[in-house]
Amino acid sequence: DTEVTQTPKHLVMGMTNKKSLKCEQHMGHRAMYWYKQKAKKPPELMFVYSYEKLSINESVPSRFSPECPNSSLLNLHLHALQPEDSALYLCASTRDSSRQPQHFGDGTRLSIL
């Protein structure tokens, strides 16, 4: 079992829907990450939070809105997504730096109709 928990595991939504992906870790990690992974491709970094502050945004479209309400939780709010946004969304955490092994959750598989 992974120490990073992501919910839901699967999500199907229409292009006009609003939904949120959730990620939780209780390892005391202070850096958290969102990645997008298309089929048979490597994970691509979207956002990095360090000590609950957004430190990196990889030019992600505004229809993706991250939120870090506390040190254990990371959300990704979705609105007006496009079919090409269908992918596996992975959350990860590290103690406090990107130069440490990232602990990944098993992801949310998102399908946009």
């Binding site: 992974t2 990073v4 048979k40 491709k41 490597p42 994970p43 691509e44 970094l45 990095v48 990196i56 992975l90 990860a92 990107s98 130069r99 092994p101 990232q102 602990h103 990944f104 959750g105 098993d106 992801g107």
Partner: protein, 109 residues
């Protein structure tokens, strides 16, 4: 932009043999390198990492080699087992990680 790539997209190895997975990187500023294993339906799982001040690091059945001169990283898996079948990603960076394209390792019984 900088990118990380792998020489071989697929690798088949007889059970019990050693596996070597290679990775080329182009960002000379990277000072941290890491290997992940990803099984179907799972998130990436940490295998081993190495910092730029080292050339070699060993773990349980795994060894990572770093050649900064030619910007090459490799993962050696000793005595491969069926459970080693997965996609293996290298990643490199400093403030953030960039993942390579991945190699699918298949263990032949």
């Amino acid at each position: 932009g900088e990118n990380v790539g792998l020489h071989l997209p697929t690798l088949s190895v007889q059970e019990g043999d050693n596996s070597i997975i290679n990775c080329a990187y182009s960002n000379s500023a990277s000072d941290y390198f890491i290997w992940y294993k990803q099984e179907s339906g799972k998130g990436p799982q940490f295998i081993i990492d190495i910092r730029s001040n080292m050339d070699k690091r060993q773990g349980q059945r795994v060894t990572v080699l770093l050649n900064k001169t030619v910007k090459h990283l490799s993962l050696q898996i000793a005595a491969t087992q069926p459970g080693d079948s997965a996609v293996y990603f290298c990643a490199e960076g400093n403030e953030k990680l960039t993942f390579g394209t991945g190699t699918r390792l298949t263990i032949i019984p």
